[in-house]
Each structure stands twice: as C-alpha cells, then as structure tokens.
C-alpha cells in the first residue's frame, strides 16, 4: 500500500492535505484506517519505515488528474435514511449519498453520518442500488454474489467476495451544501477513476 491512512493523517495534519481543486479533505475521512491509499491529488511523500505486514513504506507517486468538485445535496433536505443518487466522478460512475442514523468514518454533517459511495459492487460490478439496510448501516447483499459493505467503515466488506472495499466518495460541506470532492479506491469497471469516460463537470 501507499502509506497507511493513519500515517497519512499524521502527515496531512502537519502539512494540510490538499485534494484536487484545492479542496481541503475532511480530516474525519482520513482517520484511523490501515490499508487504503490517500486520495488522488496527494503530493509525493515518503512514509516512515514500518515493518508490519499490512503497511509498507514507499513513495507515493505524484498524480496529476483532478477530481471535480460537484454539489450533491443540501443538508437541510436530508431526512434520516435519505439516499441521493448521483454520478461521480464520471458520467458512467453511479454513486449514492446516504444520511445514516449513526456516525460513520468519513461522515460529514453535524452528526458525522452523511457518507457517499460508488454503487457498483467491486466484486463483479452488479448494481447495489436499493440494497441499503438502514437498521445495520450496510449496503448489500448484492443481488449477484451477495457481498455486503459497511457504510460506517469506509465501505469495508462485511462479508462477501469483493476484493476492494466500496470506493468512498469524499464529501465536503459548505454551509448547507454538500459537495463531492474525490474518491478513495477505484470504481468497478475502471482502470482509473478519471479515465476512459466523461468526467462530470465541476464547479
């Protein structure tokens, strides 16, 4: 992996983590995880040596493609368990925003319970739309091969066959407005989140 998110957090706090388009990444999104790379837009950085199996020192390559900043919803319009569908970061990348009833990693809003994810299962690409289970804060099981993702834990696979957690769309709040500003992980079907399809228009 690139660096652990914990390492990234430490670095981000010190230097100011800057995502594409100059948006400051919500710190909550970066907290407390191992095993995911920082979002695109992170400048090169060498992590400290780490001998644990799941965390490896190395250099993060510079990345030039920029994520658009796109308005997704208004906080005031989100009732509990609301689901807002949108396309992000390309017109062929379905995503949903969820207003959960519990705090979630990477959650924004007063209760830290507003999150967004791409919605094609990262096992074999079947649509997860409609599989949100409000009682458990999970998304799934997928209708094809039954993978279930935890929306409160950065899309971690609760049980199932997806080889990558569900890509989380990073959100930023400005007043009442919620913006999508980046994606962690690669959306199903893509070799690169921002390649081979039309990127949605940013602000």
């Amino acid at each position: 992996m690139a660096m652990s998110r914990r390492e990234f957090l430490a670095w981000g706090v010190a230097t100011g983590a800057v995502a594409a388009g100059g948006v400051v990444i919500p710190v909550a999104l970066l907290a407390d995880d191992e095993g995911e790379a920082p979002p695109e837009g992170a400048p090169p950085e060498t992590a400290s040596p780490d001998t644990t199996a799941a965390s490896t020192p190395q250099t993060i390559p510079a990345i030039v493609t920029l994520y658009p900043r796109v308005k997704v919803a208004n906080v005031s319009e989100l009732v509990p368990h609301a689901v807002v569908d949108f396309q992000y970061p390309t017109e062929e990348t379905p995503a949903s925003l969820f207003k959960l009833d519990r705090p979630a990693a990477g959650g924004v809003g007063e209760d830290g319970d507003i999150v967004a994810f791409t919605t094609l299962c990262t096992h074999m690409g079947c649509p997860l739309a409609g599989a949100y289970q409000p009682d458990h804060g999970v998304f799934g099981p997928c209708g094809c091969h039954f993978t279930t993702f935890d929306l409160t834990k950065r899309g971690q696979v609760v049980i199932g066959q997806a080889t990558q957690d569900l890509p989380q769309v990073m959100l930023d709040i400005d007043g009442d407005e919620i913006f999508a500003v980046g994606t962690i992980g690669i959306a199903y079907g893509f070799r690169d989140n921002l390649a081979d399809a039309v990127v949605v228009e940013g602000l």
Binding site: I159, G160, Q161, I184, I186, R191
Partner: protein, 827 residues
C-alpha cells in the same frame, strides 16, 4: 507501489502479455485463473484492440474483465520488474464460469513475492537455530544435518521414532515425493497429514455405505431440487460452489448447522429451512428425518431393492474390516431405526433443539414424491458433521443417503464439499506391518499424535503445516515440543554440520527431539524448529492438484521462488539422495507427476492421462497445460483417442463395497451420548465452535500480508449471542478470554488452554455457544479443543469441533473504530 495498495490506477496487460493458466491456491473449489505477465513500463490501452483482455474500458457488470487493484502486483522476473495480473479466468467454462471468484482467490496476486511489499519476509535461506537464534546456513549443510539425523534416529530409535507431518494436499508432486520418502524409503508409518492423527479415512461411516466421499460434481449441485448442506457455510468457505452452482441452480436448501450463517438466512429466505441443531446432536436430527421418510414410505424403493445389500452373509463377506462390523442389511437397518425411541420427531426435537415441524419439512423436501416422482436431493457436508462424532454422524448421513438413493445420479449425490483442495498422491504404500496399533486382531493405522505426546517420536520433519496450532490441545502439545527441543540440552552452538549433528544426537539421547520445519514464512510453528527450510509455493513451480469435484488442473509457474527457496519435492529429493536412496533424482515436477501416474487410483486416478501422454511422446504436464483452467475430472479414462473425465462417480450404480452394492450401517447413539458428556461444557463453560471466516485461509500465511483481508479481521473474533453479551455486559470490540482447564489431551489426560479474541456480538451463534476462527495466528482455537478422539479406530478422526471453555471479558479495544461488526448473516 507495493502489493496490496489501494492504487489510483491499475495498468492493463498489453495484447502480447504472457499468459499462464492456473487455479486458485486456497479453498476446495479451485477456480480457474489466468496470470497476465508483462514488463513494467508497458501498458495496454483502454480499447479492446489495445489490451490482452480484449475489452473496452470502463468494462460493464459481470464482464469478468475488471482487474481490481488487488488482482495486480509488480514482481521481479529475470531481474526486471514485471506487472502480474492474476485474474479469475473470464473464459472459464467450468467451476467459476465467466470469471466468478471469491475474495480469497481474487487477491492471489498479492501472494507473490516482492522485495518492496508485504511478502518481503518470505524465507529465502535455510535457517539453523544456533545459540537460540535462527541463522542462515547453506542448503548443503542443512541437507547434511537432516540426512545424518534421520539415519541416526532410525538406526538408534527405530523407524517409528522418525515422524513426518505434512500438509497432505499441497500439490501431487510434493506429496508424492514426501510419501515415497517416508513410507517407501524410511518405512515409517509415523506420518500424519496436517490435521489428522495419521492415516485412514475422514468419513468412515459414509465410506462404509459404499459411497466415495467426493463423488458428486458441481453440475449435481445445480441440478438438484433439494440440497441438504450440513456442518459448513458454503458461501463463506466454498464460495463459488455457492454463487455459481448452488444459488443459481435454485435448489431448496436445508442448512443444518448450529450457527445461523449467511447460508442459513439464504435458505430460509428462499423457501428452505435452517436446522439449528445443538452442538453434538446432528445424528439425532438426521436419524429422525430418516425414520420419518421410512415411516411415510418415501424411500427410493427401486434403489433399495436393486442396489442395497439384503443379506447378512454379504456383509460378513465384505473385504473391509470396518464394514463387516458396522454394516447393516435393509431389514436390520429398519429394525434398528424404528426401535430407537429417540428418533421419533418429538424426542429428536427435544434432543436437538430443532422444531419437529422443521424436521418434517426437511424430510418432505428430501423425499416426498411430487407428482409421483422423488425429488432430486443431494446431501453435501463438511467438517461440522464429521469432526465431532466422526463415525456416527457420517454413518447417520450414509443411511439417509442410501434410503433416498442420493448417490451416483444427476442431482442426486452425497459428497463432501471439501475443506481444502485434493493434492495427496501416494508415493508408496503405508507400511502397515510397522504400525504399533492393532484393532480387532489386525494392524490398523497408528495414532501419530498420541505417539508424539507419549514421547516416542524423536525427530519430525514438518512440512508446510502449522502443526501445533492445527492440533487439538495445542498448548499441551506446544508445551511438550518446546520442552523436548528448546528445553532439552544440548542446544546447537555451531553452524558446522558435524558439531550440530553431534549436539542433536546428544539431545535425543537425553530424551529430547529435533524438528525440521519447511515453510514459506516464519510462523507460530517455526518456534519449535531447530532447522527451517525455505519452501517454494504456488506460482513458483508447475504443480497439479484436484478440486472438490475431482477436477485436475496444472497450476502453472509464474516466477522463480525467492532467493534460495526451493519446492518441498526438491528438498526431499536432496535428503533422500544424500542418504543413499535410489529413485529420487527428479529433474522437475513433470517427472514426478509422470512417475506418480501408475500409482494414481480411485477418485484421483489420472494414470490413463500419463500413460497416453507417454505413448504419444508428450509430457503429462503439457497435456494438462493445454487443458487450461478446464482441466479434466478424475478418474480419467480413454475412449478412442480421447481422454474422458468423470462428472460423477458411481454413475453405473456400483459402489465401493465387495458386492458392489450400497449398505446401511450401525449408528451407535450411546457412544454419541457418552462422548457429549465427556467432551461437552459444564455449567460454567460454553461450547466453543470453530471454523473459517470468509476472507481468511488456513493460518493466514497469505492473508496477514493482504491488506484487504487483514484489515477486515485484524484480530481473531469470538461470536457471542446478544443475550449472552447482555448478561456479560459485553459489546462488540471487547477483548475476551476463552479458557479451559479441562482440555483433553491426545493421551487422554487433561490440560489447559487459553486464547484471547475480540467479541463480535451476533445472532449467528445460539446462546450458550461461541464461535472463533479456528486457526488465527497467536490465537489458536484448538487450545481449548480436545485432542482425545475418545474412540477406537472405527472412529479415526479427532473431534476438532469439540471445544469448550469459560468466556470472560478482559477489557476493551479500539478495533470497533476501524473494523466492521455489522451482521454477516443478512441474506
């Protein structure tokens, strides 16, 4: 970027990427995979013409052609960085049709060695424990020490003092070499597979009814109207058998398991039933269903009349000693089952905790004629059934199988689902005359675990298995081994082979032991070794193996093993030759495979494939290589000029008995009761159930190095029912202790065991039971599991499912911040 990274981009293989076909390393399903290999710096483009996947990107749902970031790695091949994409074969026409896969196989690429990734700690040199520290030595020294010490052990203490403990399945070529050496050259019967006490069968009761334990094919799973699945969760642990064959096949599922897992929920949601038996009571549930079918007259009368043994004389004339004792005729079976009052619905319901109505429902699904036709019912099972009451449970299932004729016919089979793949080849016959164990007036396979624990084994070569954690009463065995190795002087003080051998010989004379461990990583087991050999693994040589439907494939070599790591067959060949044995000078794995052909028999019979290859001037491995991920199902026959596989065994309705018929068997319910009393929990203990978790394979040797897997389960978990959790004031994420001072040892004594794990509060378990992963490093569930088979050679397998202990809250942890504790059984 090192393996396992969440990347921002995955490079596509260019059209000219080298392709190696293989199958998955892990679960018994063995999905087909293709490894695409190409130099770093080159990349395929996003249109179909520009990449080896012949696919336009972004690719659509179910294309099977999306390289997930965790399917890709970068490794050194010929001193140059290469991309390797290990993709579930999108062109597969069997097993994982269209590129289906599990989370385990889907991350195979991350297994490969790379110097800058989590696999960088692969063992690359032989290591000798000198003054307490494992230190690199040359292969030549290692081979010399092993050869001299084996010779010394056998000469001084006899063949039985020389033990071999090995994986039993890590490819035909390796196991052929190991067994040829141990059984054939050393003539020791002190040879045990990774999880067993010795030779013999896993499923004795079913064997005695005449059915092969891997008789069905996956087509049968799909063709069945009803599937009864016992003692396993196929979704979690044989994933693609479930997602490709069971679920799409649409059979109504009867899931019998003490846990309410995903498959239980799926079964109930789709018109089936979950028989949530109390641990240790399976045989009563099966027996009651069997009796009800009999009472309703729903048996397969034609099958029973034509294919079932009717006379005592035929039973007594059988060649199998166990069948002669346990076999029953149709009349005897009916008498025994109808005269057992505990097999009435009400009594069985009381014993098993399953509603009588659910037992009836199961019987109806299995055997009630619909429009005059019997439903096509198959019985699938695994260790939850046969690692408790080994003989009795498999016997009860065998009787049900015979009664409804679930064997040898499309959609109507009785088969293990498998724990791991089937890679055991026989390099030589078991030297039965050397066994120290007799039963009923004849020699039977020895109990190697007991032999060790009683202090009779002086040297062990342990190959690719986490022996102590994989054994019941782990802490007892580990304590003994530690005492006999690290705790018995002298220790080795020199890298000079002659001095090391002299010191080891003195240690053996002092009652001590010498353990050689062949491994790919240091682990909990290498702690006990004085000599560690660096092994090669999947993808580092050409190997062959069967899956659980007997499908034989070549697992192609992707890259060389790192450093001086070498395949186990090579280490065996070197030691055997150093000792002066002939017949071990193999040049490659194909030579071994071809040599193994004539000895391949029964369900793994590939002798005809080898014979034909040689007759054609071909290489047997190349014949298999050309069959790609399709392979061929053993046993293999030749028709004309074609090799023909076997979809299901017993298709001619002849069975593995002397008269070729099936027969019923005796189920000793008194023995079950006694064993439940002996091994079950008392009032301050609970049942400690053990098994696998979806993401994790065996001792996590790869998973520890796969961020996607280890971030899901960064710790062992213990599932606790919400009622028990409330009573104990426990929440998910709390650190729990599981302890027992009543762990029965292999020599029928009592010892203690204790592990810790993190609470996962869930209704997957019933109140009064907990569940832990069976093989989490540092948290070996088998520490609280009995090592005492409490049985005779009739009942040869250890009851690994009999764990018991006190569960106490030790404190809290931070795991709930990063790790999901959401329900895993939502269908």
């Amino acid at each position: 970027m090192p393996a396992g990274a969440s990347k921002s981009r995955v490079p596509l293989p260019p059209p000219d990427a080298r392709v190696v076909t293989t199958a998955c390393e892990y679960c018994p399903v063995a999905c087909g995979y293709k490894a695409y290999i190409w130099p770093v710096g080159v990349e395929g483009g996003p249109t179909a013409a520009e990449n080896a996947l012949a696919t336009d990107f972004p690719t659509g749902p179910l294309s099977g052609r999306w390289p997930s970031p965790n399917m890709h790695t970068v490794v050194d091949i010929d001193d140059r960085a290469h991309n390797v994409l290990v993709l579930p074969d999108p062109d597969a026409d069997v097993v994982n049709v269209g590129g289906n896969h599990s989370v385990r196989g889907g991350t195979l690429a991350l297994k490969l060695f790379r110097e800058d990734g989590p696999t960088r700690d692969r063992l690359q040199q032989p290591l000798l424990r000198v003054n307490g520290t494992l230190q690199p030595i040359p292969w030549d020294s290692a081979i010399e020490i092993i050869a001299q010490m084996i010779r010394h052990t056998v000469d001084e203490y006899g063949e039985l003092a020389m033990g071999v403990k090995h994986y039993s399945y890590e490819f035909f070529e390796n196991t052929f070499a190991i067994t040829k050496f141990a059984f054939g050259a050393l003539e020791t019967p002190n040879v045990a597979p990774h999880h067993n006490t010795g030779g013999g069968t896993d499923t004795p009761g079913l064997d005695d009814t005449g059915v092969d334990s891997f008789s069905a094919g996956y087509e049968d799973y799909a063709e069945a109207d009803t599937l009864m699945i016992i003692g396993t969760d196929p979704y979690e642990t044989k994933t693609v058998a479930f997602t490709q064959w069971i679920a799409p096949g649409g059979a109504t599922i009867i899931h019998m398991d003490p846990r309410k897992t995903f498959t239980s929920s799926y079964a109930v949601k789709n018109g089936g039933v979950h028989l949530q038996v109390e641990p240790g009571t399976d045989a009563w549930a099966i027996g009651a269903i069997t009796r009800y079918i009999l009472e309703q007259g729903w048996e397969d009368a034609e099958f029973v009349a034509d294919h079932v043994t009717q006379t005592r004389a035929e039973i007594e004339a059988d060649d199998g000693w166990r069948r002669r004792i346990m076999g029953r005729t149709w009349d005897e079976f009916r008498q025994e089952i109808t005269s057992n009052p505990d097999l009435t619905l009400d009594r069985a319901a009381a014993i098993t905790g399953v509603d009588a109505a659910d037992l009836v429902r199961a019987a109806e699904l299995l055997a009630m004629p619909v429009n005059g036709e019997q439903p096509k019912a198959s019985l699938l099972y695994e260790k939850g059934l046969y690692w408790s009451h080994n003989y009795e449970n498999t016997a009860a299932l065998g009787n049900l199988s015979v009664l409804i004729g679930a064997r040898g016919r499309p959609g109507r089979g009785t088969s293990r689902m498998g724990g791991h793949q089937r890679g055991g080849a026989s390099g030589a016959s078991y030297p039965m005359d050397k066994s120290p164990t007799e039963f009923d007036g004849q020699k039977v396979e020895m109990d190697c675990d007991r032999w060790v624990v009683e202090g009779n084994t002086r040297m062990v070569w342990s190959i690719g298995n986490d022996w102590v954690n994989g054994s019941g009463a782990s802490h007892h065995l580990g304590g003994l081994l530690r005492g006999w190795t690290r705790g018995t002087d002298p220790q080795i003080t020199s890298t000079d082979p002659a001095r090391a051998v002299a010191q080891l010989q003195q240690r053996l004379a002092a009652g001590g032991m010498f353990i050689v461990q062949s491994e790919i990583y240091l682990n909990d087991q290498t702690e006990f070794a004085d000599l560690v050999l660096p092994a090669a693994t999947w993808g580092e040589d050409d190997f062959t193996r069967n899956n659980a439907e007997r499908r034989l494939r070549l697992y192609g070599k992707i890259m060389d093993p790192p450093g001086e790591a070498r395949p186990d067959w090579w280490a065996v060949s070197q030691v055997a030759q150093r000792m002066g044995f002939d017949g071990f000078a193999w040049a490659d794995t194909n030579e071994i495979f071809e040599e193994s052909g004539p000895r391949a028999s029964g369900r793994k019979d590939y002798s005809q494939l080898v014979e034909k290859a040689l007759a054609d001037g071909d290489r047997a491995h190349d014949v298999l290589r050309r069959m790609g991920t399709t392979g061929i199902q053993t046993p293999i026959t030749v028709e004309g000029n074609d090799l023909v596989g076997t979809v299901r065994m017993h298709a001619d309705l002849s069975f593995k008995t002397t008269n070729g018929k099936s027969n019923f068997v005796f189920v000793d319910y008194d023995a079950i009761e006694q064993r439940n009393t002996l091994l079950g929990p008392n009032s301050d203990e609970v049942w400690v159930l053990t098994g696998r978790l979806n993401h994790l394979w065996q001792s996590l040797f790869d998973d520890k190095r796969k961020p996607h897997a280890i971030s899901r389960y960064p710790t062992n978990i213990v599932e606790i029912h919400p009622d028990d959790a409330a009573r104990m004031e426990v929440v998910s994420g709390d650190l729990m202790g599981i302890e027992s001072d009543r762990v029965r040892t292999a020599d029928q004594g009592t010892s203690s065991g204790a592990i810790t794990a993190v609470a996962y509060v869930t209704d997957q378990v019933a109140p009064g039971t907990v569940f832990v992963n069976f093989h989490y490093p540092g948290s070996p569930a088998n520490a609280v599991v009995t090592a005492d088979a409490a049985s005779t050679p009739i009942n040869p397998r250890q009851p690994f499912k009999f764990g018991r202990g006190r569960v106490v809250r030790l404190g809290s942890t931070d795991f709930a911040k990063s790790m999901s504790f959401a329900p895993r059984n939502l269908a």
